[in-house]
């Protein structure tokens, strides 16, 4: 019994010491506070598997009152946001491939006439189904919206057309992933996320390790340019990144039959920019990290948003605007779109360009920042 009180006291002393150290360790402290806050905000607000206001293009070939009713019904359903009209199927398809729209709605010629004659005209909806979760609810809403809208117009002698089956034949084309396999969507995203995780963390660690062991000083005292050190440090990881990517693609094709429609050469070329972004980011973090533990903590701060806000786990368009803005500041977001485009849609350079140039901008900016930070390493 006599030993109990001193033991408690010693325990308390250790607790106080831990808290004091924790309070002074800004990075850990930030992690403890920020991670729950970020997670809470993300899961509470940002992540929405029932995305609305999805960008939609119209191809209207019939200018009857019924066409106008259908269009306004789609808009009123809240799932569709009409962002413009196209003049041809090809133009609509390009928008789908570029990720500019989620849907192209086509109202064919003689839609009004056929409707009045009771021929059940087609209403064609082409959907980008690479992310099946993103379009599910919207497509469910279409049928009801169309029938409801026309209900108001079909009065008097046309009232008999309101009867079931629906006066309109809604045809849905799920493009790029007709069976709606979630794994099709996950695999290209996985390449992006794994490259982000390993790339950022490995470079951050590689540099901090030199500092922690004191070998950085030896390196800096030798006649070697910062750019040479950076290139020498980064290149092995570029190679590792390539091996990882092609391993994932190979396994995905073998085990899950994930299609590889586009050119792997084009994917390789985009990989250069993306891997360089991540490695330069890791390099930048390492300049601020004092030791390897901090380097890991900082890497997690980068990796977490890259997983949650890039459109990898949850539909990008389902996130509120602020989360989309944060997501748009991450190279991962752009690479996911490129990888999905090339693998699932068979995209070429023209189609991936809107997402490729931001990657190059990131690469140049992050590299410049990391060079600047590295120069001041010892000072």
């Amino acid at each position: 019994m006599a030993g109990l009180f001193p033991a408690l006291r010693r325990m308390r002393a250790i607790m106080v010491k831990e808290f004091t150290q924790l309070r002074r360790d800004k990075t850990t402290f930030a992690m403890i506070i920020l991670i729950p806050v970020i997670q809470l905000l993300l899961f509470g607000y940002a992540i929405n598997t029932d995305p609305k206001h999805l960008p939609t293009a119209l191809l209207v070939r019939d200018h009857s009152v019924f066409s106008r009713s259908i269009v306004s019904a789609l808009e009123e359903s809240d799932y569709f946001k009409i962002i413009g009209s196209v003049r041809s199927r090809a133009q609509g398809e390009l928008l789908l491939r570029q990720d500019a729209v989620q849907f192209v709605v086509t109202i064919p010629e003689h839609f009004g006439r056929d409707l009045v004659r009771g021929h059940r005209p087609e209403l064609l909806i082409e959907a980008d189904a690479t992310d099946p979760v993103a379009i599910g609810s919207a497509l469910e809403a279409v049928q009801g919206a169309a029938a409801g809208a026309l209900g108001h117009d079909l009065t008097g002698p046309l009232a008999h057309l309101r009867a079931t089956p629906s006066p309109v034949d809604v045809r849905v084309h799920r493009l790029y992933n007709p069976e709606g396999f979630t794994r099709y969507n996950i695999v290209p995203g996985l390449i992006a996320v794994i490259l982000t995780m390993t790339g950022v963390m490995m470079t951050a660690l590689a540099m901090t390790r030199e500092r922690e062991r004191g070998t950085m000083e030896t390196l800096l005292a030798m006649p070697v340019h910062p750019l040479e050190v950076m290139a020498g440090k980064i290149l092995p990881y570029v190679l590792i990144g390539y091996i990882q990517s092609f391993f994932i693609i190979f396994v995905a094709e073998l085990l899950f039959n994930v299609p590889v429609l586009g050119s792997l050469w084009l994917l390789s070329a985009s990989l250069v920019a993306f891997i360089a972004c991540n490695l330069a980011l890791g390099f930048t973090l390492s300049a601020s990290a004092e030791n390897q533990t901090q380097a890991i903590q900082m890497s997690i701060m980068v990796i977490l948003p890259a997983i949650l806000l890039s459109g990898f786990l949850f539909p990008f368009r389902g996130m509120p605007e602020w989360a989309q803005i944060v997501g748009s500041a991450l190279p991962t977001t752009y690479f996911i779109r490129i990888a999905r485009g090339i693998l699932l849609k068979g995209n070429g350079l023209v189609e991936i360009w809107p997402n490729l140039w931001p990657l190059f901008v990131f690469m140049v900016v992050i590299t410049l920042v990391s060079m600047k930070r590295y120069r001041r390493t010892l000072d």
Partner: protein, 307 residues
């Protein structure tokens, strides 16, 4: 005649967080000499060495190192300089040979394999060349570090406390090696905590709180301090130390085993102060020539008093 001086700098100043950690360093070191940096921890020795080898840029001041401008030609200087950091800093997870080969590649040395083999032979490590550096003992690591720092035949060596944590025998061998290198014409700038090592330098530079306090040969530095020192033995020395410390005329009191060294710059005042204790005849008092250690303690106490 700048080329005759390996180092010729003036006014070197480095400021961290608004505080000058090194201020107004003027230094001329002729080629082929061994200069020793002496001073307490945090006196600015490492910062000065880092400025000289181009690791950090001075905020004020400048000059030349090996005839090249410190501010604009640091890449050229680095190519002709060997630097040994305070903490052993080669790669633990590379073998001895891999470390040396890496250094040879960075410096772009010709006949790299031959040089590495020669270095291994001189070290006596040929048989263990493939061993990982992390498994070496302290003495061996230090010899490897020196070997790696001299692999590219530098004109000057900057050694930051190279012998700290090394056993006396290795220390002795290390200094013999330093003298061999100096005889070959290499300039050596070495910082140390060991007072006995100051005798092995051609000249020493005494630093305290970022300033050079005094410099010259070891004998000159001791003489220049103008110190008078008494050694006391016998009786309760700890009690005596506490009594002597507050007296005016007594600048420093320091215990050396069974000896107490009592020093002061004003000989008459010192004798007045200790006279009553001498008269007690409990202790044996003997005037001795001050050692470098006494001078070191004296300067440390003095700067603290001024601060």
């Amino acid at each position: 005649m700048t080329a005759e001086l390996a180092i010729d700098v003036s006014g070197l100043t480095k400021i961290y967080g608004g505080r000058a950690v090194v201020e107004g360093i003027d230094l001329q070191v002729p080629r082929g000499k061994i200069y020793g940096f002496v001073g307490a921890n945090g006196s600015g020795k490492t910062t000065t060495i880092r400025m000289l080898c181009g690791l950090i840029k001075p905020d004020r001041g400048g000059g030349t190192c090996l005839g090249h401008d410190l501010l604009t030609e640091s890449a050229t200087i680095k190519a002709h300089l060997g630097y040994m950091t305070q903490k052993f800093s080669y790669w633990d997870d590379l073998s001895i040979r891999e470390n040396l080969a890496f250094v040879a590649d960075i410096f772009g040395l010709d006949r790299a394999k031959e040089r590495v083999d020669t270095a291994l032979e001189r070290l006596g490590l040929t048989a263990r060349a493939e061993q990982l550096v992390g498994t070496l003992s302290g003495g061996w690591r230090q010899r490897l570090a020196l070997s790696a720092a001299t692999l590219h035949e530098p004109e000057m060596l900057l050694l930051d406390e190279p012998t700290s944590g090394v056993d006396p025998k290795s220390r002795l061998e290390f200094w013999d090696e330093i003298h061999h290198l100096a005889a070959d014409g290499i300039t050596v700038l070495v910082s140390t905590h060991y007072m006995d090592e100051t005798a092995r330098c051609h000249e020493i530079i005494f630093m305290s709180e970022g300033h050079i306090i005094t410099s010259g040969t070891a004998a000159n530095v001791v003489a220049h301090a103008g110190l008078m020192t008494w050694a006391v033995t016998g009786g309760d020395l700890v009690a005596l130390m506490e009594k002597l410390k507050p007296l005016s005329g007594v600048d420093t009191v320091a215990a050396f085993g069974d000896n107490l060294h009592v020093s002061g710059t004003d000989g008459a005042a010192l004798e007045n102060a200790i006279a009553p204790y001498k008269a007690e005849k409990i202790h044996q008092w003997r005037e001795i020539p001050p050692t470098m250690e006494d001078v070191f303690i004296h300067y440390m106490a003095k700067t603290k008093g001024d601060g």
